[in-house]
Symmetry: C2
């Protein structure tokens, strides 16, 4: 995931077919993937995760923070700035997550075929 594209999880995309959940949170997986290249601000996350309402994004972030997957940092600057980044625990989850995404990419055609019939 080089940059944060707007259409990343939109429509038919392997990782959007397989959002996995951690403790009941539907969006957690995608949020974590958006953080894999480093800290992001709230508004930066809203770009690739355009399908999530601000409410659900906040809820997901809070939940991930509570469970120790991400760390929230608020900077005292003239313009308000809040960033989210993976903790060690969160980073360790990326591996199984990627295993999943690889699987999805590899079996993408089969998945679409099965859906159609």
């Amino acid at each position: 995931m080089e940059a944060l594209r707007a259409d990343m999880f939109e429509e038919i995309c392997p990782s959007s077919l397989l959002p996995f959940r951690i403790g009941g949170d539907k969006w957690a997986g995608m949020v974590l993937r958006c953080l894999e290249d480093g800290p992001r601000r709230y508004s930066e996350l809203r770009v690739p995760l355009a399908r999530i309402s601000p409410k659900m994004l906040t809820q997901s972030l809070r939940s991930l923070e509570r469970d120790g997957f991400i760390r929230r940092t608020e900077y005292a600057e003239p313009v308000r700035r809040v960033t989210y980044e993976l903790t060690g625990l969160g980073r360790s989850l990326l591996e199984p997550l990627r295993t999943f995404c690889s699987w999805a990419e590899e079996h993408w055609d089969e998945l679409l075929d099965a859906r159609e019939s």
Copy 2:
């Protein structure tokens, strides 16, 4: 997963912390895991998956069937019998699923610690 135990996914259990979803189905992951040792009947699935209502189990099974992960077979016998089993596609999903469960077991203590604070 040797046998189907009643408490398998109950309460605090690594794989119940990480139910993953396929196309919106919350229980899909656990259902698939219950099928990894071979075909099971509907009522057999209800034992380890005691927390799922019959409605959701049916819905999950239908969804997995529709997407090509499992196959439903109905036998014409005096006593009605329906079994569910993994397809090739479904079986291929077991590997990423197990990667997840291994991760959960490995980080179990950290997860509990984070939850408490």
